[in-house]
Structures are given as C-alpha cells and as structure tokens.
Amino acid sequence: MSEAIIPGTAGSAVDPTRSASTPPRSWLAEALYNTFGRVGARIGAVWIGVIAFCAVFAPFLANSRPYLMKSGGRWSSPLLEQLTGVDVTLLAVFFVGLGLMFVRKLNMGQRAAILLWVVALVLPLAYWPQIGVIWRETQWPVLMRGGLLLLGAIDLAALVGIPWSMRLGLRFQLIFAVVLLPLVVLLIVRPPNPTRVPIYEQYREMEAAGQIEWVLRAPLPYSPSDRLRDQFDPNRPHPRPPSWEHPLGTERFGADILSRMIHASRIAMGIGFISTGIALVIGVIVGALMGYFVRWVDLLGMRLVEVFGSIPQLYLLLTFVAFFGRNLYLMMVIIGLTSWVGDARFVRAEFLKLRQQDFVQAARAAGLPLRSILFRHLLPNALAPLLVSVSFGVASAILAESTLSFLGLGLVDEPSWGQLLNQAVSAGGGFYWWLATFPGLAIFLTVFSYNLIGEALRDALDPKLSGE
C-alpha cells in the first residue's frame, strides 16, 4: 500500500552516491519545482498553508478554555487537559514534519514514511483510554474486538515494518527515538481524556464571580460548540451579525462562526486527504489490474468503472448517506468509495501504453512478482496524471462534504462550512448574509487553491506545453 501513496519511489531512483555540490533532482521533484514556480500554484499553496495551520492549531486559536489560569491559588491549564487524541496526533505530526524539513539527507518518500510511522505510534497511545472503554462496553463484542485487534495488528506491522524497510541507519533511528520519547512517556502517564459533555461557560462564570486570579485566554475565546448559554438575551436572538465580540457573527444556535470555521478547516482537510487517499488506493489497484491484464479483467473492470461512472456521484453519495448513519469517518470512506473512477481510468490508460515496453518485459522475464512489476516498475511512470487527479480530487472531496452538509445530510454536530451555509437562508425567508458570505468564501478559496495547483501541475507535466 505504501508504494501506492508515497511518491518517493520515483525519488529513490536517484543514485545517492552522486551527491555532489548540487544534489540531483528526481523527475517528480523537478515537476513539483516547476509547478510551484507558477503564480497560481503559489497563491493556492499559501491559502492551503493557512487552512492547514488552522487545522493543526484549531484548539489553540479558538477555545473557550483558557491556556493557563490561576484559581484559588492553584495553577491549571484547562485547554491542555482537554486536548483530544486527534489534537495530539496532529500536533506531533506537524512538529515532526517541521523537524524533518531541516534534515537534508532524506527524500520525499522517506519523509512521508516517517510521518506515517509517527501517526502509527501516537494515535493508539492517544486513544488508549477510549479504546479500553470500547473493548469493555461494546455492543457487538466479536465484531468490535476483532476489528480492534485487526487495527492493532496493522498498527504494529507499520511500527515495526516502516523502520525496517527504510534502512535508515541505527544512529538516525536513535536520534528519532530520543526526540519522540518524552511524548510517548507523557501520553502513557497522562493520556488525553477530554470530558464527554464539556461545560464551556464555566470559565466565564468563574471569572464573573471573581474566582479566577489570573488568566491567559485563546485569541478567540469561544469553542466551536460553545452555544453561549450564559449569555442568553431574548432581545438579541441568534444568529447575530458580526460584532467586536464575534468577528464573523454567530450561527443559529449561538456558536461563534469564526471559531466554527477554524475548526471546520480540520474536517475539510481531513475529508479531502483521507477520502482522496482511499479513492487513490482503489483506483490504482483496479486500474493497474485492468491495464496490465487486459482481456477479461479489463472487460470486467471497465463494467465496474462504467457502473460507478454512470451513477452521478452526488446521487450515489446521497443513497449511501440515506441508509447509513452520519459519521465523519464513514463519510470519508463513502466519498472515497464513490470517486475512484477517474484514477482507475488514468492508471489503466497509462499501463496499457506501457505494458508492452521492454522494461516491463524485462521485469517479467526476471521473474519479479506481480506486485513489484505493477507498483515498482509501472506505477512510477503513471504518477504524473495521478498527481493532477489527486489535486482535483481533494477539491471535489471537500466540495462533496460541504454539499452534503449543506443539504442537511452531513455531519450532525461537528462544525462544517457547508452546514453554516445551510443556515444562511431560514425557512421563514430571512437571509443572514454573514452566514452565507464567510463560510462560502472559505469553501471557494480552498477549492480554488486545489484547482489552481492541479492546473499548474497539469501544465508543468504536460510535455506538449513545455515548449511554450
């Protein structure tokens, strides 16, 4: 699987012994360099950077809980105590990624593999109290426990397999372990265990009652689900237009819109990348098999592609959503399951072109296993159209999620841009311009950024246009 998603296979082809004063760039790195030399792609990258920053640091940017406070002579940090497992994992990945940018020896594939390893390490540690609860109090013991055991096995395989297959050298592995050791110890001693029903207004009430001696708040002191129950005022019903307290106004139930938008960027990014990843894995496997084996596999596969291609995606999504529950992770899987057709077509077309070439014949003659021929020898040549389709795919996945939320069939309580947009026109005919303008703008800018990058990538990779 890792071969399919990590673009480093092309990068690793570069001879490491040739590292002279100017390190040679792989073909893929060259293409990326060309892409981000373009103005459009740069603008897009800047906006996505902003969204990614919001996604990683959402709890620090907008939170009802103070960073640090002194109450009754005791110092505490409600914000840190209430971080969730996702928060911790994202932060760990972000900082490790930041550190890796300064390590020059690694190529892109190795960096991605290290990040994957960090996820495999931190995620189960961050969630072990919840996993314990699920293990004990599950409704379907066999199913859930089996699933957990399977996930655990996959996780363990990744933990052991990734360092083993990367051959990074003992010294590097040691440095890495020492850097991550404090985090591991911290997570074991104090696992993230947020309260299930948070009472956001308690800090404001404590402050009003004079129980807090010293406090440091987040820049936007409202959590996305903080419905401001303590500030109820029958004369000023929600949604309220933008004001100094709430820069972008409040939504129907009284939560701060800016706060919800900041936290929604996390869902947008998550849906975008994970569902595109799922679509990519399915598309690459189906497309590779079709393009390589031709004949009846192709005939059968093309029928499958035709089936999923001719049901309009939104209808298929709605059918899924209608009969299954509404859940973030299910939504990622569903959007992924309904959008792999394009990838499969690209890979198939590319493989059909390549399958008779000498290097494939040679690989087959050398007795390489199918997995190796398909993913190590053929796939790197088909990466170009895939990269373009990934970029457009992320855009359309984000759009799909906000469309579902807009239609009222998306997530229930979690913040989402589409869900805010849904409230802009009320049943009574009222129009709340702030609820339409800001979330819509966020969706547009994000989709536009990915499309700009996709367009630039396509131009950079297209040999026909390189003469321009």
């Binding site: 029928r303 309009p312 939104l314 009969f323 311009w433 703008l441």
Partner: protein, 357 residues
C-alpha cells in the same frame, strides 16, 4: 453502425445489472437492513396494526426472506422482461411486462408517477443549460486560441477556473439572498417554476387593457434565470480549455497551412477547416457532462424549490422512502448511461474516420 449500436446496447445490460447491485446492496447492507426504514413509523401503532403492517410488508417486499431473494424480487419487478407478479405476490409466467418501480410508502403513490412529474423539470433545467455552456465556452475557446498568450487569453483562463471552483450552493444562496430578497433587491422570484397565477396566463407576453402581462413563457424563463445561471458557470472552464487546445492543435496542422497556401480566406480557414475539426472532442464530452449536471441540479432544485428529481431524492431520503430512493438513483443512472451511449454514436456520425466495425 447498427452492429455497433446493438453491441453497445447489449454491453449496457451488465452495467445496468451492476448499477442495481450497487444501489440495492448499499441499502441492504445498511444497519437494520431494508425493512428498518419501512417499519420506522410503527411506534404510533397498536400491536395488532403493527403485526398486520409487518405481515403486509413481508408479503409485499419479501422482507422475511434472505437478501439475495429480495434483490432478485426487486430486479424482477423493475425489469421489462420477467415473471409476472399478481397483487398477492404470486409469480406468473415469464413474459414481457411493464416495469414497475414500486410504490412510495409515505406518499402512497406509484413511484413512476412521482418520477414522471419530477423528471421533466430536471431535464428542462439541464437542456436549457447545455447549449448556453457550449455557446459561451466555444466562443471563448476560439477567441483564446486565436489570441494565444494575450492578456485576454490568460485572464479568461483564470476567470473560468475560479468560476469552476465556485461552489454551486454558495452562488445559489448568495443570488437568492441578494437578488430575490424583499429587503435588498427583488429582481427574481425566490423559487418555484411558475407564478401562482401562471395557469391563467397566455403563452406569449401581451398588453391587456394597457397593462403589460408577462405570459407563461416569460414567467417560466424568469423563474429559471437564477437556477440556470448557477448551473452554467461551472462548465465553462473544462469546455473552453478543450476547445482552445483542439483549435491550437488544428491551427498548427499541415492542412491549414495548405489551405492558406492555396489562398483560402482566413475566415474560411478558421470556420470551415479548423473549427469543424476542433468541435469533435466537444461532441464526445457533451454527454459526459450530464452526470455532473444532474448532481449539480440536486443542489439547485433544493435552493430554488424546483420540484425536480433532486428535490424528490432529498425528500425521499428524509422520509426514509426506500422504493423512491432506489428508483430515482436507478432512473438517473439509466439516463446518464444512455447519454454516454448517445455521445459515442454522435461521435461516429460526426467523424467519418471513426469506424466501430
């Protein structure tokens, strides 16, 4: 040609079976299975009634049977060729019969009637949209190719990409919020396909006793203006880029140089030689646009309260109307499958070089 059409039609059968499989199993694998959604209204009933309903549903949909039997039953029901089934659920002989899309439980009406009411609205919306998209995209594509690299070429490119990225629901909400709003600007109606008085209007606009009367046609167009705007702008980018690329390729071709060399006028070169060859790829993608447009019209119909297939779908989902959801997805897929076939045939008709023998 006929051979090809027949072969394509035959190849459609496995695809159609695949579509029914996907649609049915999505529903059957859902928590609670097929029956859960039907029985959800039983809370308000007396035990005896509930038992009766359950018995009836089991008989009607075979809910007490294994899932694959339910699937075969459903396929038999919607297929034009199959076993006849009488009201009691007994199977008759194997013949051609009228395909039956079932009955919508919450509404108590045959699904086919509901679809027949909703489909024309959606088709009208889409059939109005496609020519507009083509007219604008082809014109700008030609212009951009002729003036390649100029500021206008680049700026239309960027403009169209940004239009393509504009979420339909945002544009729809903003348009309806700002231009169909009593408090801001009321230029357009807030929704629906006709005014309430449309039945009494004449078809064409006219003056009655010195007062202007809109007439049925203009009234409908007035109602459709905003929805059609929302549905069109996204299609420009893809088509004009395709048109531009095809034009550029043909402008550099040998036959164009030959035409110019033998003294054919620039207009004739452009419109008779280059354009005719460049329009081919656009014909092929015409039908490929349809699935996207049909998806987009769900949102449009919801925002502008047009009673088309999309709105019917959303209502069906909210009411857990199993037969309706199944049938709508099936009908919509059938339409886009047929349109894909149509575009392949059109391509063969338009380009004499293409042969499918």
């Amino acid at each position: 040609m006929l051979n090809y059409i027949i072969r394509r039609l035959l190849l459609m059968i496995p695809t159609l079976v695949g579509i029914t499989l996907v649609v049915f199993w999505v529903m059957a694998l859902a928590p609670g299975g097929v029956g859960a959604s039907l029985l959800s209204a039983e809370g308000a009933m007396r035990p005896q009634e509930r038992e009766e309903l359950r018995k009836y549903l089991n008989k009607r949909y075979g809910l007490d049977q294994p899932k694959w039997k339910q699937y075969l039953r459903w396929v038999n029901q919607i297929s034009p060729l199959g076993f006849e089934v009488d009201d009691a659920g007994n199977y008759g002989k194997f013949t051609f019969k009228a395909p039956d899309l079932g009955e919508s439980m919450p509404r108590g009406r045959p699904v086919i009637d509901l679809v027949a009411e909703a489909l024309p609205v959606t088709l009208l919306l889409n059939l109005l949209t496609v020519p507009i998209i083509y007219a604008i995209a082809v014109t700008t594509g030609i212009y951009a190719a002729r003036h390649r690299g100029t500021a206008l070429d680049v700026s239309t490119g960027v403009l169209f990409i940004s239009l393509w990225s504009l979420p339909v629901m945002w544009v729809g909400v903003m348009l309806i919020g700002f231009f169909a709003n009593r408090d801001i600007i009321q230029l357009f109606p807030t929704g629906g396909l006709h005014s309430t008085m449309a039945d009494q209007m004449t078809f064409l606009p006219r003056f009655v006793n010195g007062t202007w009367e809109r007439g049925w046609l203009l009234d409908t167009l007035w109602h459709l203006a905003l929805p059609v705007i929302c549905l069109t702008y996204g299609g420009f980018a893809f088509l004009s880029k395709l048109m531009r690329a095809a034009m550029l390729e043909n402008l550099a071709a040998d036959f164009v140089r030959t035409a110019r060399a033998k003294g054919v006028g620039e207009r004739a070169v452009l419109f008779r030689h280059v354009l005719r060859n460049s329009i081919l790829p656009l014909i092929t993608v015409a039908a490929g646009l349809l699935p996207g447009l049909l998806g987009g019209s769900i949102i449009i119909e919801q925002i502008f309260s047009l009673n088309g297939m999309g709105r019917l779908m959303i209502d069906a989902i909210n009411q857990r109307d199993r037969e309706l959801v199944l049938s709508i997805t099936f009908v919509i897929s059938l339409i886009s499958l047929l349109s894909l076939l149509l575009s392949d045939i059109l391509y063969a008709v338009a380009d004499p070089r293409v042969s499918y023998e």
